[in-house]
Amino acid sequence: MKISTKTSDRLFDIFNTIFMLFIVVLMLYPFLNTLAVSLNNATDSIKGGIYLWPRIFTLKNYESVFENELLLTAFVNSVARTVLSTVGGLFMCSMAGYVVSRKEFIANKFVTIYFLMTMYVSAGLIPTYFLFRDLGLINNWWVYVVPGLFGAFNVIVIRTYMQGLPDSLVEAARIDGAGEFRTYIQIVLPICKPVLATVGLWMAVGNWNDWFTSYIFASARKELTVLQYELMKVLGSAMAAMGNRQSGALAAQGAQAFDNISPIAIRATITIVAAVPILCVYPFLQRYFVQGVHIGSVKG
């Protein structure tokens, strides 16, 4: 009996290891395949049959991408909006979080509900479009930064973290004669680094990955494009081949920029360029992300 339990245990471990390897392959293969295509000769890629390794190695695709002015602009825009939105968003959300974390604040409950409501009540795309139009944000670079600084969930996560800090910290600052704003900047923010890292990363990833803002609000001006939107346009050309109603025009735009190399290669290369910054960062900052899920699930 004992032996058979052990054998079945071993069998289980073997099965589980194989299963996990399968999962790893499934997660990584699409990415590695695209990497191989991006490093393969563009005309050769059309023939297909490239799996994990380039058949005719070349860096030409990357050269074309980085020589393309539109894509360089897109890259700069992506970086700039990500940095500005993250810094601005962290400032706004942490300041709001600080105020609602103060138990003695009399409008505490009202403000919290006022913020939480925004998670459920959304006016929808069309009213938002009209608001942006009235504010002059349509086809304006600032549409990437100005509207998206606040997030109720982020405020709650930061507030929860701040509530866990010892009261004596703020009291000590008070005795030293520090006002609320100074206490927030000089005392509370520095010790909130872990939660700020978590929330900041969410914001950064969200901004870097956003293509929809460009598609809806900034598509009329080419120089306002971002990397993800360029990729979306190129992806559109593949879908257009199947007869997509919307992407037809976009695909024409996307293909126009690169008549010298095949769309397969360009698509693969842009995919890698758009993915690599995040892939380089996330394994090292993983614990902050995971931490955030935990804080969020406690109070969310």
């Binding site: 339990t5 079945s8 245990d9 289980f12 471990d13 290891t17 299963f19 996990m20 999962i23 499934l26 997660m27 990584l28 699409p30 395949n33 695209t34 799996y51 300041m95 600080y98 105020v99 604040f105 009399i106 403000v111 006022y114 913020f115 925004t118 009540v121 959304s122 006016a123 929808g124 795309l125 069309i126 009213p127 938002t128 009209f130 608001l131 504010l135 606040f150 609320e180 704003f181 927030y184 990955n209 293509w211 809806i216 993800q228 990729l231 979306m232 992806l235 879908m239 199947m242 007869g243 997509n244 919307q246 993915a275 995040i278 996330y282 394994p283 993983q286 995971v290 899920v293 935990h294």
Partner: protein, 302 residues
């Protein structure tokens, strides 16, 4: 007397007010002010002439009689349900299996890799998925070489396949990430339970089934209830990026309908009515889900 006290408190806390009021104004502008646009749902708004004519509930009656509305609802609910069922079962299963990995380093590597797709944008994910499913993609290569099919299947052109592409695409992107919450719940299970079960001769499967799974049952149920509140949120990204004219019948969701009518066809009133319908229904569903999960949490504590 009371009033003076309140006034004094406000004056004493003025600095907190100075800090919060700008944020509240900002939230008012970007989250509450757009609600006035809902008026468009009760008008026939013609942007060319800027004519606003009140029509009452006409937009809604038109919407509810439109065949497109039912198609869109069916697609939204269908994809949400597939997503819910597939998403939960795969994440729970993967969490249970990851929990059984003995070597710590291997476990960490598997976890890190499984989180990867979560961080990629849907545009990238859609590009990867469409390559994976293409006629020369790996899936077709395997199917053809194993002799399961004779000629490659063009999955993305098959309207009956779209919901499943959506469902499994979502699984690929978020299954790893979704295990985090279950793995956290598993760590709070009393290790003595496992020890005594082992003494009783329970194998690995038996322990998973009788200890781990019941141990995270309440987490699972609360998450399912909460997710049901979001059932009208099947999204638009996958549908827009992977959908095409051949699959429009099964890929168009509420959000996509709003984009198509509002942005592309400029029928602002109808699109707003649809958006409003979605928000109002969602609030009702979420309130119900919130209530149910609170009640459930209370009961499970007793």
């Amino acid at each position: 007397m009371q009033k003076r006290k309140l006034g004094q408190t406000i004056i004493r806390q003025r600095e907190l007010f100075f800090m919060i009021i700008p944020v509240m104004v900002y939230v008012f502008i970007f989250s509450y002010l757009p609600l006035k646009g809902w008026a468009m749902a009760f008008q026939q708004y013609r942007p060319q002439r800027d004519v606003q004519q009140w029509v009452g509930f006409d937009q809604f009656t038109f919407l509810f009689k439109d065949a497109a509305f039912f198609r869109v609802m069916r697609n939204t609910l269908g994809m949400s349900t597939i997503n819910l069922v597939l998403g939960f079962t795969t994440a729970i299963f993967l969490a249970l299996m990851i929990n059984e990995i003995r070597r710590k380093n291997f476990k960490r590597i598997v976890q890190t890799i499984s989180y990867m797709p979560h961080f990629l944008s849907w545009v990238i994910a859609a590009a990867l998925i469409s390559d994976f499913l293409s006629s020369r993609g790996i899936l077709n290569t395997i199917l053809v070489n194993l002799g399961i099919v004779e000629t490659p299947i063009i999955f993305l052109a098959d309207k009956n396949a779209f919901w499943w592409i959506f469902g499994w695409g979502n699984v690929w992107k978020s299954v790893g990430w979704n295990t985090i919450i279950y793995l956290a719940a598993i760590t709070s299970i009393d290790p003595e339970l496992y020890e005594s079960a082992e003494l009783d001769g329970a194998g690995r499967f038996a322990r998973m089934w009788h200890i781990t799974l019941p141990g995270i049952k309440s987490t699972i149920l609360v998450l399912i209830i909460m997710n049901m509140g979001w059932i009208l949120n099947a999204g638009f990204e996958v549908q827009m990026l992977l959908g095409n004219d051949l699959t429009i019948d099964t890929s168009e969701t509420i959000d996509l309908f709003v984009i198509r009518y509002g942005i592309n066809l400029r029928n602002y009133s109808l699109a707003t009515a649809m958006g409003m319908f979605k928000t109002v229904t969602s609030i009702i569903l979420l309130t119900a889900a919130n209530f149910a999960s609170k009640r459930f949490a209370k009961e499970s504590l007793v």
